[in-house]
């Protein structure tokens, strides 16, 4: 009898738990959306101090610089209504947008702009946000609505540096920068509960096209295994950076999966200090035998964008698509190259991969099978992220690694500077005097066309020299509940919520 009672009790308990879960996800008001994010926002709320990519990704909606990037990779005016660049490329004159307001209701004045520029450029005694801002020689307020920034040397990427959360315009009056976020973007910051959520609200006085959804809640979902379940269960409506496995778990009837790219250069990076990789024929053979299409097929059902050099397709004018097919897969050619090299019988190599990135580990597995076709004996070593950073990236003690390298801003330097032989982030120990020469020419160029020409040549050298085994720009999957639409990808690591609209 007692047993039956406890069974009944158990069933009732289970039923209550199950029914409780049903309340979420239905009859949700269309003026709010919950977005899952992978990490807590425990950064400072001062845009000039934000470090984590995940923080800057969502605060893109709150803060704006004088200019900002659009989804096509162009730089468009934001807080400034227009910008004029002088003949000698040394003076930038910005005209303040009329009637633009901060989230606290106060108008943006030219003093706020000067204060912000001085702050992020390190002109008030603080550290500049990037060393590129050290190039600023003068910041002068000309009239009530114009300000000029003077440079020491011409820099064709200067506007790209300004088009970032790191160079946001903030009010001078805000004394609690670390905890109170006031900007000019389409959303204003409301509150944050550590390890639970961050809340944004639509800013009604926004200067541009106003956002559609009123309330935005970012729910912190640190457990990657439960994200698909949370989407299915309705506790979150949207999530970015899904893996292929997570994508496959979603119900196609209820979710739109947007497919873009992660904006990084995934490659088998070779340490040029390791002897076999000093042989150009070996590197070429490796490039010929690897098939990036096959990698994509295995790792992400064929999604992804092939690349041939250290520039990804969203980089627009710097991307040269003819380089993609330089090393079209050809096992016979690869074998010929190997025969010409100093290692006709192959050699041993280790691929060190950070194990927290499934896509890189999976890529290494496919590469192992491919490289074995030309007698290269591959051992895969998985390490944790900290070990990877200290041993591979900083210490350069490795033979080869699979990783994705991203760009901090839309300037070619962000991707190509690391291959200059004396660059401190040249973790592949790449050393090519011709590359250094062309790279210096690109940075010294006075016109944008000339700089672009040289940067493209740099990319071509990396390709012709088979510096690394370039694979792809990884696919990025974004799941959005069908109650909403309009997610757009940017060529940078940002999430634009203002463009998302509720359809029900």
């Amino acid at each position: 009898m007692k047993r039956i009672k406890s069974i009944v009790l158990f069933c009732l308990l289970t039923l209550t738990t199950v029914l409780c879960a049903c309340t979420d996800g239905k009859n949700k008001a269309s003026d709010s959306i919950t977005i899952g994010i992978a990490q807590d926002i425990d950064d400072s709320l001062d845009p000039h101090k934000m470090v984590a990519a995940g923080t800057k990704e969502i605060f893109f909606n709150v803060f704006e610089g004088l200019v900002k990037p659009d989804s096509d990779g162009n730089i468009v005016p934001a807080v400034a209504e227009s910008v004029e660049v002088s003949e000698d490329k040394l003076t930038y004159t910005f005209k303040l947008r009329k009637g633009i307001k901060f989230h606290d209701g106060s108008a943006v004045t030219i003093e706020d702009v000067k204060y912000s520029v001085d702050k992020f450029a390190g002109r008030n005694g603080e550290e500049p946000r990037t060393s590129a801002f050290l190039n600023i020689s003068e910041v002068n307020v000309l009239t009530d609505d114009t300000i000029e920034i003077k440079l020491n040397n011409p820099d064709s990427d200067f506007l790209s540096y300004l088009a970032s959360v790191e160079a946001a315009i903030i009010p001078k009056s805000n004394a609690n920068l670390d905890t109170v976020a006031i900007g000019t973007g389409p959303y204003k910051y409301v509150s944050r509960i550590p390890l639970q959520n961050v809340v944004f609200e639509k800013f009604d006085d926004y200067w541009g096209e106003k956002a559609d959804i009123k309330n935005v809640t970012f729910k912190i979902c640190t457990n990657a295994d439960t994200i698909a379940m949370e989407l299915e269960g309705g506790t979150i409506d949207m999530c970015v950076h899904l893996t292929n496995g997570q994508r496959l778990q979603l119900d196609k009837e209820r979710f739109d999966v947007y497919e873009g790219t992660m904006n990084l250069v995934q490659a088998l990076y070779l340490n040029h200090e390791y002897e076999p990789f000093q042989d150009e024929n070996v590197r070429k053979a490796m490039n010929y035998v690897t098939d990036s299409k096959e990698v994509m097929d295995y790792v992400s059902n064929g999604a992804g964008e092939a690349i041939g050099t250290s520039v990804y397709p969203n980089f627009g004018k710097y991307f040269d698509e003819t380089l993609v097919d330089t090393y079209a897969t050809d096992v016979e050619k690869a074998k010929e190259c190997m025969a010409k090299s100093a290692y006709p019988d192959g050699f041993d190599m280790t691929i060190t991969v950070p194990k927290n990135y499934d896509q890189h580990v999976d890529t290494a597995l496919v590469l192992k099978n491919e490289l074995e076709l030309i007698g290269i004996n591959v051992t895969i070593e998985t390490v944790d992220w900290d070990t990877w950073l200290s041993d591979v990236y900083m210490g350069r003690k490795y033979q080869s690694t699979v990783i994705g390298v991203d760009a901090a801003n839309l300037s070619a330097n962000a991707l190509l500077a690391r291959f200059r032989s004396d660059a401190d982030n040249n973790f592949t120990n790449y050393n090519n005097s011709k590359y250094d020469e062309v790279f210096d020419k690109a940075n010294a160029a006075s016109t944008d066309e000339e700089a672009t020409k040289y940067f493209k040549e740099c990319a071509k050298i990396l390709n012709e020299d088979a510096a690394n085994v370039y694979i792809q720009d990884l696919p990025d999957f974004v799941a959005l509940n069908k109650n909403y639409e309009g997610y757009v990808f940017y060529p940078l690591y940002v999430m634009d919520i203002a463009k998302i609209k509720a359809v029900k």
Binding site: A228, Q246, L248, Q249, Y298, A364, L365, V366, K368, I380
Partner: protein, 272 residues
């Protein structure tokens, strides 16, 4: 009563036997454990691939067979390391007592205070991950419990008449320890081995599950399960088959080691 058949032991032995047969049959399986096939990605069980294929189109049957083989080999050697060292330490402590006992017991107590999985984790983080490291780590992790068990057994036996007689007859100490006493503590000894073996298989699966252990593309039961976790909804067979085999193996060994069965087996000797 005398001829009572021990069903537990028979069931256990046959399950373990089947599992070993399953692993050995892997050598006849012609699919390579790391051969990828684009056309078979996540395809379900079929005649040519009875367990189905994983996210790279690799044959899951072969992977489960090699995976289980690796788990068993790791655990086997870990248990050998653990038992040999543990028994020697325990025997010395229990038999000699005094300062030797105090020092060695203090050391094992310290090791005992650290959970064995954590101990293995520390070991792996110091010496890197890989099959050899995991085997050593698990071996070291089971030393303390073995030493403790053996110490108390040897302490008990040392006071018995036959040991005292042997001492009087000037039998060398190592002979007393391992020829005279050890066979008399066999019951505890064998049970300890089986329990340790079970724990090792589980701990290895646990270590591999959190990503420490054998390196891809080689898989053990633990890595097979952790890799399949993401496909639980779309391809549940990826989890079901390896998990079922793991449970069966543990169940078989568990039955074998069940204290009662050995008590029966050995009490027979005294009855006769």
């Amino acid at each position: 009563m005398k001829n009572k058949i021990n069903f537990q032991k028979i069931a256990g032995a046959s399950i373990v036997g089947l599992m070993i047969l399953f692993i050995l049959l892997g050598f006849l399986n012609r699919n390579a454990f790391d051969a990828m096939d684009k056309t078979r990605i996540l395809s379900g069980p079929s005649i040519s691939h009875p367990f189905g294929c994983d996210e790279f189109g690799r044959d899951l049957l072969k992977r489960t067979q090699t995976g289980m083989g690796i788990s068993v080999v790791i655990s086997f050697f870990a248990v050998i390391i653990g038992t040999v060292t543990g028994t020697i330490i325990g025997a010395l402590c229990g038999y000699f007592g005094g300062v030797v006992d105090d020092i060695l017991t203090a050391i094992t107590d310290v090791l005992f205070a650290i959970p064995s999985l954590l101990l293995a984790l520390v070991f792996v983080s110091l010496f890197g991950s890989g099959m050899v490291q995991v085997t050593l780590a698990l071996g070291v992790a089971i030393i303390p419990s073995f030493a403790k068990m053996m110490r108390s057994e040897f302490k008990k036996q040392k006071e018995l008449e036959y040991v005292k007689m042997a001492k009087l007859m000037k039998v060398p100490t190592y002979r007393i320890l391992f020829v005279h006493i050890l066979p008399n503590v066999m019951e505890t000894f064998v049970n300890c081995i089986f329990i340790a073996f079970n724990n090792c298989i589980l701990a290895e699966a646990g270590l591999s599950f959190i990503g420490i252990g054998v390196q891809p593309p080689v898989a053990s039961l633990g890595t097979l399960l952790s890799d399949a976790g993401g496909y639980l909804r779309s391809a549940p067979f990826l989890v079901l088959f390896p998990a079922f085999m793991l449970v069966l193996l543990l169940f078989g060994i568990g039955l074998l080691s069940s204290g009662e069965s050995f008590h029966n087996a050995y009490s027979k000797r005294f009855k006769n």
